[in-house]
Subunit: 611 residues, 2 copies
């Protein structure tokens, strides 16, 4: 019967084949692939972090740009601290220590929920920010495409959505290419750039007096530049979340990968910042700093320049892709705890992941459209979520060490405590400098999500209490009165009557009399087609069909106390979707009206239309 498989095969087309249980963990990550798969988010942020520092400082004039280097040095030392701190999480949580889990287990449910909400927001912004930064790399190389910026962003988003629905997550190995391609490209850029500087062949991109200062160089401005630069730290947590994906010894491989990643990120970030200073780069909304450096160092239109741009786009799209693994996974964990709808929970059949993917894509698309695909405009929203989860995760680890009190726990607690302190300071700075620039949206959103989490959990708890069998006394209902509202006698009705006869010995067809001639006709037809079913004709002074019917259901319900009332409706199943609009409206009304009536069941008997 081909019809029965129509639905599953459509789903298959959309989400791919299911994964058999015994194959679920067949593909483990080496250090090489692990770095590629888990560090794209962290490494790719060096493509835009320097830009954000410079754009902030330049309002105080070109002279203020000298502060970019010390600021980036502070940020990289923080990055080292945070990476070191997360290295501890890897060893403490070899089965994966996301901020939600660490905060929930050690600090408490509320902290876990705040971390979870922050992460969900963060993943959504990872998608929007990475895609728009990736598109900026495209439009930097091809400025004529800038007016299609939003369309390009949505194109990449659609690609990622469809790819993930089909299941590109599994083929982790192909991810090695863009990551190492990007790292190679940036290191070549830095090497050639420094070589040209060494031989004195640098022509600054911007004139020294190109930008007049429009604001004084205040501490707040320096803090804002610092806060913006902290985007370089996003993504550091990815390795510690993914420990179980590594080949054994998992923790050791993960820790080594984390350290490699931190070293690469720090080197590239400082390298780009130094070059940006030397070449006097001032990024614009339509051309990124890396692109300007590429033109100055390799020359516009050279193959090397285009290779770096392509690599940048690829790694940024890849970074967006990591959120497509993280978001559904976290949603699944949160859902298992009862704080999100159950549709996100079941990972067995990819449908749950599909729900997560669709929700993520929808929100990311909204952000892209609202902010016109402008990375700099999205940025203020980005970091609050990241640093809330950083802080809660590190703070959770401090409590973790205090609880287990292994040998050397004080050192471990100290390291994580230092990490928590550092990230909480950054969080405060980010909050202060970014709230008015748009971060208030996130500050509002996180509590709203937490409240929604709690409402859903409360609802599931209430449901569980109502579903308990303890003290449940089944009612002694042994009889079933079956009613079939009919508007005439035709084949769909005749088929419904035959079905109804198998259900009960008390089946009644109910016809509402609005036209004496039609009623007489039905009575005559009944002699042929009625079978064991009794015909009940109801009067309708108001020409309404629905009301007399509902009143009759009430009357039947009152007749005896030991029965169910089953209302059977013939339902047309049309061959084409638009034909749905032409049928079953009255059935829908009857269902709606009887939905809340106790011991009443409404059943649709399908009648399949052929065309």
């Amino acid at each position: 019967m081909p019809e029965t498989t129509a639905f599953p095969s459509f789903k298959r087309l959309l989400v791919g084949k299911p994964i058999p249980s015994h194959l679920a963990h067949h593909e483990r990550l080496s250090r090489i692939t692990g770095l590629a798969v888990l560090s794209s988010d962290a490494l790719s942020s060096v493509a835009y972090a320097t830009d954000f520092i410079i754009v902030t400082l330049v309002v105080a004039g070109v002279g203020a740009l000298g502060y970019a280097i010390p600021i980036s040095l502070v940020i990289t030392s923080l990055l080292a601290v945070v990476a070191f701190s997360y290295r501890q999480t890897i060893h403490a949580y070899p089965t994966g220590g996301g901020a939600y889990r660490v905060a929930k287990e050690n600090i408490g449910t509320m902290a876990g929920l705040v971390a979870g909400a922050s992460l969900l927001v963060d993943y959504t912004l990872t998608v929007s920010v990475s895609i728009s930064a990736g598109v900026l790399a495209v439009t930097s190389a091809a400025p004529e495409l800038d007016r299609y910026r939003v369309e390009l962003c949505l194109f990449f988003l659609t690609l990622l959505t469809l790819g993930n629905l089909r299941g590109i997550r599994e083929s982790g190995r192909i991810f090695a290419v863009p990551t190492y391609f990007f790292v190679g490209g940036i290191f070549t850029l830095i090497a050639v750039g420094l070589f040209r500087y060494a031989i004195g062949a640098v022509v600054p991109i911007t004139a020294a007096d190109a930008h007049a200062a429009t604001k004084p160089l205040t501490t707040l401005l320096l803090l804002t530049a610092f806060a913006n630069g902290c985007t370089a730290m996003t993504g550091v947590e990815a390795v510690s979340d993914g420990v179980p994906a590594f080949r054994p010894p998992e923790s050791k491989n993960a820790a080594a990968t984390l350290v490699t990643m931190a070293v690469l990120a720090i080197t590239m970030f400082i390298g780009i910042t130094v070059l940006a200073h030397v070449y006097r780069v001032i990024p614009t909304p339509s051309e990124s700093g890396v692109s300007q450096l590429g033109r100055a160092i390799f020359g516009s239109g050279t193959v090397l320049y285009y290779l770096v741009q392509v690599a940048t786009t690829l790694i940024l799209v890849l970074a967006a892709n990591t959120a497509y693994a993280d978001f559904p996974r976290l949603a699944s964990i949160v859902s298992r705890d009862g704080f999100l709808p159950r549709q996100f929970m079941n990972q067995g059949d990819r449908l749950a992941f599909s729900n997560g993917i669709l929700v993520l894509s929808t929100f990311a698309a909204v952000l892209i459209v609202l902010f016109r695909g402008n990375t700099q405009a999205l940025l203020p929203l980005y970091m609050i979520g990241v640093f809330i989860s950083f802080t809660l995760s590190q703070a959770g680890m401090v409590i973790h060490w205090r609880k287990i009190r292994e040998r050397g726990w004080k050192t471990s607690a100290l390291i994580n405590g230092f990490g928590a302190t550092v990230t909480s300071i950054v969080l405060v700075i980010v909050t202060v400098t970014k709230t008015l620039e748009g971060a208030w949206i996130v500050l509002l959103l996180i509590p709203v999500i937490v409240i929604a989490f709690k409402a859903m959990r409360q609802h599931y708890d209430h449901v569980a209490a109502q579903l308990t069998l303890r003290g449940y006394e089944p009612q002694a209902r042994v009889h079933n009165t079956v009613l079939i509202p009919i508007g005439g006698v035709q084949r769909a009705v005749a088929e419904a009557l035959r079905y109804a006869e198998t259900l009960s010995d008390d089946v009644r067809a109910v016809f509402v009399d609005v036209d004496p001639i039609a009623t007489e006709h039905v009575r005559r037809e009944w002699l042929t087609w009625g079978g064991r079913v009794k015909l009940v004709v109801l009067a309708s002074p108001y020409r309404s069909v629905l009301e007399p019917l509902l009143e009759y259901v009430e009357r039947v319900g009152a007749e005896r106390t030991d029965d169910y009332v089953t209302v059977i409706l013939p339902e047309f199943v049309p061959a084409r979707w638009w034909q749905h609009l032409l049928h079953n409206q009255r059935a829908l009304l009857i269902k709606g009206a009887l939905l809340f009536r106790p011991n009443t069941v409404v059943t649709s008997v399908p009648f399949h239309l052929e065309k």
Copy 2:
């Protein structure tokens, strides 16, 4: 049981009390109320028809405005012809002769459908055009409101929608006030204006050289001005559509009302056009000609000026309101013929009218938003529908007379033939001059609607053929295998089991084994709660719950040929709407998957959650 009435009372709140059959025709119209109720559309168009002529002519310079008077004289003679022609329809169709009916009965189904599609488009545009013209009367008096034009339009639209859903149609008498108020206001304006002209106290509003000619005065321009002025003719058909609403003798009263209406419309239209010429009125998108005349004749800020503006707004909103009676009535007639979904058909319980009202409001709102509530921009769309239905209706009448060949039929046919010729010439002129200005939308839309009409009718015909009992042999299915997919044993499942036991002696609960511990638990619970129901445990190598279940349904279906398969699903009925999102997703998937399987019925047994 208060729950069972929750739905009907919500509907009542929305659409008001039902009308008992014996009261449906209690309120008949006198000539006085008939004129007020049925002529607001025709009379109100004089508020903007002159403006459209002037705005078209002025591009050829102020000197070209002299043509406005001869053009309006031509239009009024056409109006007289059309009114005279419709007077015949009144006598031939005392039960109401709308263009759909007249064209369908006399020319053929296709002509009827074209007339019907034209009228539905026309009614929608009547709402958009009249409301935006009404708002123009408001913003002319209070220019600071002009930037809220679209919002004001939507406000009036919402008012009309809610009012009609609640049923303001019945209180026809209150409509007398704005119509006579408007007629009185315009006649006072004309009288005072002519008096001032007679005593030589006219100060022209615009300087004679204010508008330089930007285009030559071509025949095409004159034809365009004429076409625009023909808006004065819209609404003439209303009386002939509403004959049965009059007191006896219906036809005589209706005919007298039609003549009165035509005389009033002609007098006001010529009066305003003459004044506009004398006072050299040049309407702008933000101030109507009537408002400019009011300021010049009564003085800005005088009570009389404001009264005329208020009356203009009221009659225009009233004109929009007539479409709220016409659209659902026509939709109901077309639906009865099978060319529109049945939801529009049943007039007994106001729900069908509500559907028509909501569809009308939705389309009118789309037009208002798309055209920013600009009457002049909407106008090119307006008249094609009107004149198609005029022409088809008059042409149908010619054939009508030829068919019945009563005494004097030749004169009658001659009058209607003249009417048809005149309106078809206007139709050609409107089509030629307006197509590029936006009327192509309507020219595209009407065939699309006609195709949809035919597709729906064809579908209903196919359904009727499939529903016929001729040659129908009921299958000998006497047995019912009842399956209950369960995910565990809890109260909702226990209740569904008890219900299922009343349906058949072969009831099987189906549990998919994805976790041996859970399966063992279910087996133990079954000893207590299983009752007469057999427990079937299915293996699931892919951890999928849906697939093994669907395969099992197939297996059961193949077991014997004389049975139905009924799948029973416990369905949570939550107390709050948002809780729906948290439940029943799997049930929905199962229903979708089994929808097309023959002899398979899916039944939801509601479990009512209390909070």
